[in-house]
């Protein structure tokens, strides 16, 4: 592979999406309140549970985006079904 491809494997701008979830859940002033409630659950609790789902979706987006950039194809695809070493 070329040096350019190698560099692309090391970093993708899509990774910035991960920063969003760090900030959203590690800054308690954003969510330390009872209102607005959702089906009776205080905001503090449903906000953080909702972020579990959002973060998973973000991770899936980054996964598909970086896989299709083509930098990660070599070597790994064949082993996906878990049958070979």
């Amino acid at each position: 592979m070329s040096e350019h491809q190698k560099a692309r494997r090391g970093w993708s701008w899509w990774y910035l999406l991960f920063m969003v979830q760090f900030i959203a859940v590690l800054w308690p002033p954003f969510y330390n309140s009872v209102e607005p409630r959702w089906i009776g659950i205080p905001f503090f609790y449903w906000y953080q549970l909702l972020w579990v789902i959002i973060a998973a979706v973000f991770t899936a987006i980054v996964y598909f985006a970086t896989e299709s950039e083509g930098g990660h194809v070599a070597g790994g695809r064949g082993a996906q079904n878990g049958q070979q070493e």
């Binding site: 190698k6 494997r9 990774y15 991960f18 979830q21 760090f22 859940v25 590690l26 800054w27 308690p28 002033p29 330390n32 309140s33 009872v34 409630r37 089906i39 009776g40 659950i41 205080p42 503090f44 609790y45 953080q48 549970l49 972020w51 579990v52 789902i53 973060a55 998973a56 991770t59 899936a60 980054v62 996964y63 896989e67 990660h72 194809v73 070599a74 070597g75 790994g76 695809r77 082993a79 996906q80 079904n81 878990g82 049958q83 070979q84 070493e85």
Partner: protein, 514 residues
């Protein structure tokens, strides 16, 4: 004295019998030569996406977590929910760093973090530090899994005096030790599938049934005292509970994948893709953990602590009895059996993986490095099997003869210790810039300072750090990691000119990619 709950006990014993059979049968699953260490200890690195999902989920979200997080919510309220941001931010770390580590470990046949550090930095003493930290941090963690089993056995109403009181736990332990010895990592992987299905069924049933019984979420949360419902707002000149909450989440997340059992499960994946895919799929467990944390509030609202039938349980196990009491209170007996089996079996999976991970560390990084540098493959695998037995036996003795409180405190210290291996292992996966002796000094400073701070904080995780009038109570592990990094960064340029040896890095930049 609580009476024996027969329907629950019968269901519990039947499910335990089933997984015992499964654990032994697992030796023949995707059959490999179990006389090879990477076959016994990493199941031949052949697990695909789905099995890895069950295995890592069963490994990281331990029975003790399922008992202790709701117990903390039950006793202390909102602070317990730090487990949710914690398990959110572990996945970017898993996604970014661990495919690199998987690739380099796969290429060089490394099976432990210390193997990698040895190859990367060529310093056997730094590798020894990583090894010892891993083993010492793992031991109390195994012991706490046995506490998880103890609590549900107590919940089933099994009690006695002297040897009889400990008999159920000893039986569970013998089952665990035997199938780990014979099947290696294949055993917890197959059992994890059963355990996870049971625990998802239990969690779903509880989140639907119990709020209906208690009159909806509105009335559950109105039963919680206001000071427990939210984090206390920090006053002037302090970051207060906000800082504690965020550093607990961040520090715990940074420490998690450094535990030997985490890496063992990750390295058994069949490819780096499997790991990346799982970073998007594993949050399903985080969601369940968040729901389980809410069960602490359910238990509080149901007032289980004041019901006479649970008096004995709370006396014996403290707040750890909150969730078992809630299930006994809210579910029919047969379903209690399923829920308790989920927790009990849920303890066996991580305990098995932890003992395998500790055994891999001893065999590869102590015995092979310092005692017998040229074992046959069979000797190496045999050694690991014996060590896995010794490790588990040590945990059992600890739980039977030492107060549970010590195991909890040691596990707390274990978190502070294991995070000190982050610069060598996690940053080592990215850069060879650090001098290995500088890393060792940073590790030592972090261990000593962390232990001292934990004692100063009366063995609680939060250290009341004050700088220039600003009080910043926060997670000791997180603060001492920063100290460790600063020391390593300062000493690296000082020590580098002194080392005469040429670069000892056995890994190549390309090794970190697929």
């Amino acid at each position: 004295m609580q009476a024996i709950n027969w329907p629950a006990l019968i269901v519990f014993v039947l499910l335990f019998g089933f997984i015992t059979w499964l654990g032994f049968a697992a030796a023949h699953w995707r059959k490999g030569d179990l006389d090879l260490l990477h076959e016994w200890g990493l199941a031949g690195r052949r697990f695909g996406t789905i099995i890895t999902w069950f295995l890592v989920g069963g490994d990281l979200y331990t029975a003790y977590t399922f008992i202790a997080v709701p117990a903390l919510a039950f006793g202390a309220g909102a602070i317990a929910f730090f487990a949710v941001p914690y398990t959110i931010i572990i996945y970017p770390i898993l996604f970014l760093a661990f495919p690199r580590l998987w690739n380099v470990c796969h290429k060089h046949g490394y099976i432990t973090a210390a193997d990698f550090v040895r190859g990367r930095f060529g310093n056997r003493w730094l590798a020894l530090c990583v090894t010892l930290t891993g083993i010492v941090a793992t031991m109390p963690y195994i012991a706490l899994q046995l506490v998880g089993i103890q609590v549900v056995i107590g919940g089933l109403g099994l009690s006695g005096t002297g040897f009889l009181a400990d008999l159920p736990l000893i039986i569970a332990f013998v089952i665990l030790a035997a199938f780990t010895y014979s099947s290696g990592l294949r055993a917890p992987a197959s059992i994890a599938i059963v355990k996870d299905i049971l625990i998802y069924v239990t969690a779903l049933a509880a989140i639907i049934v119990i709020p209906i019984k208690l009159g909806g979420f509105e009335s559950i949360f109105s039963a919680i005292p206001p000071d427990k419902l939210l984090l206390a707002s920090p006053g002037a000149n302090t970051t207060g509970a906000y800082g504690s909450y965020a550093t607990l989440a961040l520090g715990s997340a940074l420490a998690l994948f450094l535990y030997p059992h985490s890496l063992t499960a990750i390295l058994s994946a069949s490819s780096a893709h499997t790991i990346r895919r799982n970073a998007a799929m594993l949050p399903a467990y985080s969601l369940m953990l968040g729901l389980l944390a809410l069960f602490g509030f359910f238990a509080f609202a149901a007032g289980v602590a004041h019901l006479p039938e649970f008096e004995q349980g709370f006396k014996e196990f403290g707040n750890n009895f909150a969730v078992p009491a809630l299930f006994l209170h809210a579910f029919p007996s047969w379903f209690v059996g399923i829920a308790f089996a989920a927790i009990g079996i849920g303890a066996l999976v991580p305990a098995a993986i932890m003992s395998i991970a500790a055994a891999n560390l001893y065999t590869r990084n102590i015995h092979r490095e310092f005692i017998n540098s040229n074992p046959t493959d069979k000797q190496e695998a045999q050694m690991a099997k014996w060590v896995s037995l010794i490790v588990k036996f040590g945990a059992l003795v600890f739980i039977l003869f030492v107060p549970t409180q010590y195991a909890i405190q040691l596990q707390l210290l274990g978190g502070i210790w294991i995070i000190q291996t982050l610069p060598a292992v996690l940053l080592g996966a990215y850069t060879r810039w650090f001098d290995s002796w500088a890393l060792l000094i940073g590790w030592a400073v972090g261990i000593v300072a962390g232990t001292a701070m934990a004692y100063a904080a009366h063995l609680t995780p939060i250290y009341p750090l004050t700088i220039g009038g600003l009080s910043m109570p926060g997670y000791t592990a997180f603060y001492t990691l920063i100290l460790n990094l600063v020391v390593a960064v300062i000493f690296t340029p000082l020590l580098k000119p002194l080392s005469s040896a040429p670069s000892t890095d056995k890994t190549l930049p390309a090794d970190y990619y697929a």
